[in-house]
Amino acid sequence: MTDSTYHTPEGGALEGRLFRPATSAEQVEVVEQAFDYRGDVTLELTSGEKVEGYVFNRETGDEPFLQIYPKERSGLRTIRYADLAAIAFTGKDTASGKSWEAWVAKKESQRRAEAEHAAAEARARGHL
């Protein structure tokens, strides 16, 4: 499997990495990683088309497929594993750096700043 990095990955995280599976086993493995990833990925299809979005489901039956919510359009899209050429973890990993331990370890001023930032975002959306 080709695993090239075109952004700087954080501590071995998937963010910013590109996988080009060479076998079906590798394909299954990288789709699983995309399914577990809490950020957008960009799928490169064998047709040359690129689809950016969130992979929320996959099914590894006789005709394995994944399901993705494309970023730029409504509705979901189903893509067969057979049509996949590469998967790039292009979106921010939204779960990264948000652990309870990380929160507790931060300085009080940093926690306060993050809390205010989260509150400001919610306020801007009219959710506070």
């Binding site: 957008d40 969130y54 489901n57 921010k92 990264s96 809390a115």
Partner: protein, 340 residues
């Protein structure tokens, strides 16, 4: 008595009907997650970590009603995200109440007081307020100061208007039993109908994998909290589930008891694990290898004692035999004592 008689009757009738019909796997509480967007950003929450375009997606009222109709569970719980953010939530609730579902609308209550006018008190609607402890513990858990006070004020306002109000509390391994007991006293003083408690669970995808309770520590913690419990405390959940939390009885998980429906579909296999999605509830029942889940069957389930898996087990115990029913009566009448 924390749960109204009409609700107990409805649930009892439903469970007994399933048993008479020989239905082995039936849902008890449908969990509808209408959106993942929240107005809090609690560290360790595994439900809100998605890209913006996913957080902007919402279930429509029609999708929520169809899920309730298809599933058939007598109770519907609406967590999230924060449901009160959903602009069509009042309509969703009206539709579920019209179907005579007992609805638990789970909210952090930040928007509750402002939105109370949009809802009508009903025996079918319970506002389930997320409260993780007294002020210090709660504000720390939700990573924002002042939320406890806002929630308490909203609870008072909701009670004044005649809404059914309960609290839901997730307890983590750093919980102080004395403080938790004091918190129960405070909630009872506020006048809530009952409290719901559960240990936390390490979501597979959650960033917080270490702060959740391990099984023995869970039992020890809940035994210390619930032994010699005060008669004034009312819990809006099965007394046998509380006994289970205290380590006084063993249950296997009932993952189909609280099926979950959200913007991705019906979640396999349960509310906590995300192993994939299917389009229909029947497909969920048929396509899930249920024997793969539960204590001793799956590493991911090893430490789980969460209500969404075991409350249904406790209810099944209650209605599974006369002795189970007797245990429930005893645990109800003598809370905190060992019911054999």
């Amino acid at each position: 008595m924390a749960v109204p008689v009409s609700q107990m009757y409805t649930v009892a009738k439903y469970v007994l009907t399933q048993k008479i019909r020989g239905v082995r796997r039936y849902p008890l509480v449908l969990m509808i997650e209408p959106l993942f967007r929240c107005n809090l950003a609690c560290a360790g929450c595994g439900k809100i970590q998605y890209p913006d375009h996913v957080l902007d997606k919402r279930l429509t009222p029609e999708q929520c009603w169809a899920a309730a109709d298809e599933c058939g569970a007598p109770m519907v719980s609406i967590p999230g995200g924060e449901p009160l953010i959903h602009p069509e939530m009042p309509e969703i609730i009206r539709g579920l109440v019209a179907r005579k579902k007992y609805v638990y609308l789970c909210t952090n209550a930040i928007l509750l007081e402002r939105k109370l006018d949009e809802y009508t008190p009903s025996k079918y609607l319970t506002l389930s307020i997320h409260m993780d402890g007294l002020q210090e513990e709660h504000d720390l858990a939700v990573c924002r100061d002042g939320v406890y006070d806002v929630a308490v004020k909203a609870i008072r306002a909701a009670l004044k208007r005649g809404f059914r109000v309960t609290t839901n509390t997730t307890l983590f391994d750093d919980a102080n039993p004395k403080r938790v007991r004091a918190f129960f006293d405070e909630m009872m003083k506020l006048g809530v109908e009952g409290m719901m408690i559960s240990p936390g669970y390490s979501y597979q995808k959650a960033p917080d994998q270490k702060n959740f309770l391990k099984r023995n520590r869970t039992r020890d913690l809940f035994a210390r909290i619930l032994s010699d419990r005060k008669r004034t405390w009312r819990f809006n959940q099965s007394p046998l589930f509380l006994e289970f939390l205290m380590g006084r009885r063993e249950y296997q998980c009932t993952p189909w008891g609280n099926p979950t429906y959200n913007i991705f579909g019906w979640q396999k296999p349960c509310y906590l694990l995300q192993e994939g999605y299917v389009r229909t509830f029947q497909e969920l029942l048929n396509a899930t290898n249920w024997e793969d889940y539960g204590v001793g069957r799956n590493d991911k389930c090893a430490d789980c004692m969460v209500h969404c898996g075991y409350e249904a087990s406790a209810v099944e115990d209650t209605f599974g035999s006369w002795s189970g029913f007797g245990r429930t009566v005893k645990a109800t009448l003598m809370p905190g004592h060992l019911a054999r």
